[in-house]
């Protein structure tokens, strides 16, 4: 037991120790994954669809229970934690946003605080602070309903909601996957700005190499449920490892073609 440790000194990061997940039907989705995300850093998880990215992400807040190995948050095994407390302490953002359609933006942002029974005034103040932080003016957005927002605005509300209970950890699954490139770039800037200010530990699932390079301190590549790489962005980009190089080559193909054929067009 490490309970006597000074909590401020424990690493708030995430650690995967030989994590595997097998479906009841027998299919192995995660195969012995081990790596750590240092406190206050962002790790992007890349990989094809079906490589296990989302499943791995979900083992952290136990939306998926690893069938073997262990996942540690702040040095403590998640399967020993109280499920509700664990989840309230971890921000969660997904592509579909999952905003509550019957709640105003303000109430959506404060929903975890509401679930914790915090007073209305505190929820209100905190919601407004966070809307401000994600670049949405509270005066014009607080009382709107989700269906009155654009896709980019909804993502911002989703992020604000994930941050409301001041989690040390943020899990993000393709947060900007459904946005057009410009909105996406703006959202990435906003996120980078927020993360820099708040110093969260982030696990970010994405398909987009560019997004990973832009936002992450480390890049993890999964393939068929196995960990292929865990590198800094620059190492990842320059790696000669065939699977990594193949993944990198799959991006910017149009750019390369346009550049090489530019003279002939």
């Amino acid at each position: 037991m490490n309970d006597h440790e000074d909590p401020s000194k424990t690493h708030a990061g995430i650690e995967f120790r030989d994590v595997s997940f097998r479906l009841p039907q027998g299919q192995l989705l995660l195969d012995g994954i081990s790596f750590a995300v240092a406190d206050g850093t962002t790790t992007a998880i890349l990989g094809r669809s079906g490589s296990g990215k989302t499943t791995l992400l979900r083992t952290v807040n136990r939306m998926v229970e690893a069938t073997s190995g262990s996942v540690l948050v702040g040095g403590k095994e998640v399967h020993e934690a109280n499920l509700i407390a664990l989840r309230r302490g971890i921000g969660y953002v997904i592509q579909e946003t999952g905003l509550f359609p019957h709640f105003s933006v303000e109430r959506n942002v404060g929903v975890v605080l509401e679930a914790e029974g915090r007073p209305r005034e505190e929820r209100r103040r905190r919601s407004r602070e966070l809307l401000e932080a994600v670049g949405l003016a509270p005066e014009s957005f607080a009382s709107r309903l989700p269906h009155q927002l654009s896709g980019g605005q909804r993502q911002r509300v989703g992020l604000a909601r994930a941050l409301a209970a001041e989690p040390r950890l943020l899990l993000m699954d393709e947060p900007f996957g459904a946005l057009d490139p410009l909105t996406r770039a703006e959202s990435q800037d906003m996120l980078r700005d927020v993360l820099r200010k708040l110093g969260k530990t982030v696990l970010l699932v994405t398909h987009d190499l560019d997004e990973a390079l832009y936002l992450a301190d480390r890049i993890v590549l999964l393939s068929g449920g196995k960990l292929i790489a865990n590198l800094a962005p620059q190492e990842f980009l320059l790696s000669k490892e065939p699977e990594i190089a193949g993944y990198v080559r799959a991006f910017h193909r149009g750019e390369r073609r346009a550049a090489s054929e530019g003279g002939r067009a």
């Binding site: 807040n61 939306m63 499920l83 509700i84 407390a85 664990l86 989840r87 309230r88 302490g89 971890i90 969660y92 997904i94 579909e96 946003t97 999952g98 905003l99 509550f100 359609p101 019957h102 929903v111 975890v112 509401e114 679930a115 309903l145 269906h147 909601r161 994930a162």
Partner: protein, 210 residues
């Protein structure tokens, strides 16, 4: 119709209307108290949904007159006709409420339910804060269907002596007096329309843009 008809039957029509309301109202309360919790429970273990909704479905296919007849010889129930009527009406009201509660909750955007869980809402909080409000208009639609059906079926309860507006209809048929038939049928139809209209308003008020 002559003024004499109303002086003769006005009081009876009023009493029977109240009786009719009581039979239907009691049955709707009972059916809601059963079907909503069961519907919620089914969303938690969907493999039971088919068989349970199937049973409610079968209940509804039993001809109402036959159901009243089946219940007649039962020990406690048979003693009072109103008990038979309420139990039978409850049985008919179960299916629409049950089906709509189940479908209403299951039809919620999975991302919304997923996030509710992932953010650490307890099961009860998820139910009260998210699922019930989002399914409310569906549940009310089921309640509306059930109410309109039951107001109609309740007229048949008079066949076993449970009272209600059906009594006037049966008497009118027996004595070949169309005025009596209409004196039962028109208030019954009005009750159904009013219930339909009122519940329809609630349904629209609770509807959420998903």
């Amino acid at each position: 119709m002559s003024g004499g008809f109303f002086t003769q039957y006005g009081g009876q029509i009023a009493n029977l209307t109240i009786e009719h309301l009581w039979l239907t109202g009691a049955a709707m309360l009972a059916a809601t108290a059963i079907a909503v919790p069961v519907g919620i429970a089914l969303t938690r273990s969907p493999r039971w949904a088919r068989p349970v909704i199937g049973i409610a479905n079968i209940l509804q296919t039993i001809p109402s007159l036959a159901l009243f007849g089946f219940l007649l010889p039962l020990p406690w129930l048979g003693e009072r006709a109103a008990r038979i009527a309420i139990v039978a009406l409850t049985a008919y009201a179960l299916l629409p409420i049950l089906r709509n509660t189940y479908a209403g909750i299951r039809g919620i955007d999975p991302a919304v339910v997923e996030v509710a869980r992932a953010l650490g809402l307890t099961d009860l909080q998820r139910l009260y804060m998210v699922e019930l409000p989002l399914a409310a208009s569906f549940i009310l639609a089921g309640l509306r269907t059930a109410t309109v059906t039951c107001v109609g079926i309740a007229t048949i309860a008079a066949a076993v002596g449970a009272g209600g507006l059906g009594e006037l209809i049966f008497r009118g048929v027996a004595s070949v007096d169309n005025r009596l038939v209409l004196a039962g049928a028109i208030p019954a139809a009005l009750l159904a329309l009013v219930a339909d209209g009122m519940l329809g308003i609630f349904e629209r008020l609770t509807a959420v843009k998903r």
